[in-house]
């Protein structure tokens, strides 16, 4: 009977062996809060606004103080500027202990790009899937810029590609000391700065590149740029 009770309690909830962790995301541009229709500048001096900003996060793992890498069961999150709820990611099942870093993928791993119809955050109704060349759009930024040479001066950056020479998933590791304890849910506050998309190792000039919507080299370089967009929020 005792054994049965133990089995039962394990099934109901793993009390006191693991805990959830909350990651919050704040979107900024050049260290300013992201606002619709507000003008920002790239390092190259182009003015731009942002109308759409979303990205997939997956493959979360946590690095303990003893350098142990704790991988969580696969989960996929679509963080979107227009959805407050999406900016709070709750991860469950992290063993109690002291941690020093969090690691995750920007994008969706290759397996989930080629295993058919998905649900939840990966549901294609969110417009983050290419229908003509299968694969998820890992991250999307749309807006406007006077420098854009297309008729409506729009900016459309849909970054994706999961195979061959053009793989756009990027791994991020952020140092963030925190403690997972039984009685308290740990919260890690992160910032994503969208200006990094255009200001990194490959500077983007909107007069030359006002959009990119296919797997390819420009997308790969923008993914390199935005792999540095996250930081831990300073209090």
């Amino acid at each position: 009977m005792n054994r049965l009770f133990l089995f039962f309690s394990l099934l109901i909830g793993n009390t006191a062996v693991s805990q959830s962790v909350i990651l919050t995301f704040t979107h900024e541009v050049n260290h300013q809060p992201m606002r619709a229709n507000k003008a920002y500048y790239t390092a190259q001096g182009d003015t731009f606004t942002i109308t759409k900003f979303k990205y997939y996060l997956s493959n979360f793992s946590f690095i303990s103080e003893t350098e142990e890498n704790i991988r969580l069961s696969p989960e996929y999150f679509l963080v979107s500027e227009d959805s407050a709820a999406s900016k709070k990611v709750v991860l469950t099942g992290l063993p109690l202990g002291r941690y020093k870093a969090v690691s995750f993928m920007i994008g969706v791993d290759s397996i989930m790009n080629c295993t058919g119809a998905q649900s939840g955050a990966l549901d294609p109704i969110y417009g983050m899937f290419w229908t003509w060349n299968s694969g998820y759009i890992m991250a999307k930024l749309e807006g406007t810029s006077p420098a854009s040479r297309v008729p409506d001066h729009s900016l459309q950056f849909h970054i994706g590609g999961y195979r061959g020479a053009h793989q756009s998933q990027r791994m991020v590791r952020l140092n963030a000391p925190f403690v997972v304890a039984a009685e308290k849910t740990a919260v890690i506050n992160l910032v994503a700065d969208a200006a990094t998309w255009f200001n990194g190792a490959t500077p983007i000039r909107f007069s030359e590149t006002s959009g990119f919507m296919t797997p390819g080299t420009i997308g790969d370089r923008i993914a390199d740029n935005y792999s540095h967009m996250f930081s831990v929020k300073s209090k």
Binding site: L11, Q118, I125, W132, N133, S134, G164, P215
Partner: protein
């Protein structure tokens, strides 16, 4: 007492498990279906463990396939272009048609034996049968229907509430459930019952005529490298020497891979049911199979990506005639007339 408690708790656990699995797979009371195909065939590429076939799932898929409500103005269904009598190609139409009289840019591919196919579309750009319908449903010049609007439309429809409940146990309409049901219906489209198959199976009283046998021998020498038996395609993308068309400006698989080595490469279509599924080529430019023979014989464009297997091919008038007779043996009339695939009445 203890034993009784054990049973009660176990039953409760099963109940919890049931709740947690709810909405993921087939519903209760479904009838599972096992497809049949000749033993000599390889294992399908399609993973049925992720989408178990059920009578109810297939019925939902068939209803979706023939429902014009899947298009923006409720005028075009999947079956509008994919006609059973044309092996689910589009009879007599070089290019796909869409809502508001719009025209597509490629011909409608036939649909059968899809569970062995690793990628889809003329350029192989779609990597899974489940998500293949997403392409024509959302394409502006085909059904032009945004997925989120489509799901809302189906949710509000009583007939679909019943069909989804029968297949999945709840009325919930999701894109995943819709795509998996469509895939279930398409998975059942299996065509291995032509005269050629009967001859191969050594069925009594069935044999090639002398002309058909001559055509089979020409086929084996000159065509089988790409149109590999038993599927009559090797599922690869190749440049068959078809001249580039400036007005269509379609360079095939190069658009998918960004690789100039894939210039003018298109998927090798199956030759099964070929004589009922004219017109031919990715842009439907040939209405007659003899035009296709003529292209291989003397109409090829030269280029570095043209497949070595077709370069310099010659087909004499006799070979062409015999090939035609052989291709006739690849028509599977049982498949073309199978009532399980026929159009269903959509009355709302």
């Amino acid at each position: 007492m203890n034993q009784k408690a054990t049973y009660v708790i176990m039953a409760f656990c099963l109940f919890l498990l049931g709740i947690s699995l709810r909405g993921r797979g087939p519903g209760p009371g479904v009838t599972y279906v096992t497809l049949k195909w000749p033993d000599s065939l390889p294992k399908p590429v399609y993973d049925f463990s992720k989408n178990p076939l059920t009578k109810e799932g297939i019925a939902l898929g068939r209803y979706l396939f023939y429902d014009p409500k899947l298009s923006r103005d409720s005028s075009v269904s999947c079956g509008f272009c994919h006609q059973q009598f044309a092996a689910f190609g589009h009879f007599d139409h070089p290019l796909a048609h869409g809502v508001y009289g719009r025209m597509g840019t490629r011909s409608v591919p036939t649909l059968f034996n899809l569970i062995w196919q690793k990628d889809f579309m003329w350029d192989g750009g779609v990597n899974h049968l489940d998500i293949q319908p997403m392409s024509p449903i959302t394409a502006e010049n085909e059904m032009d229907m945004p997925l989120n609007e489509l799901i809302e439309r189906l949710k509000c429809n009583e007939k679909y509430q019943q069909l989804f409940k029968a297949a999945y146990g709840t009325e919930e309409v999701t894109s995943q459930r819709m795509f998996k049901a469509l895939a279930q219906f398409m998975a059942t489209m299996i065509s291995f019952d032509s005269k050629y198959d009967s001859v191969k199976r050594k069925e009594p009283g069935v044999a090639f005529t002398a002309e058909e046998a001559g055509g089979y021998s020409t086929f084996q020498q000159k065509c089988a490298g790409c149109h590999k038996e038993p599927f009559f395609t090797d599922f690869s993308a190749r440049n068959n020497g078809l001249p580039y068309s400036p007005n269509m400006n379609d360079m095939g698989r190069m658009r998918i891979t960004n690789n100039t080595g894939d210039y003018m490469k298109f998927k090798v279509p199956s030759l099964r049911n070929i004589l009922v599924s004219a017109p031919y080529m990715h842009d439907g430019r040939f209405f007659d199979i003899f035009q296709v023979f003529a292209m291989y014989d003397h109409g090829q464009e030269k280029g570095s990506t043209v497949d070595p297997l077709v370069r310099g091919m010659q087909l004499s008038p006799k070979e062409q005639r015999q090939l035609y007779m052989f291709l006739n043996t690849l028509t599977d009339t049982h498949f073309l007339k199978n009532k399980e695939f026929s159009e269903v009445m959509i009355d709302d």
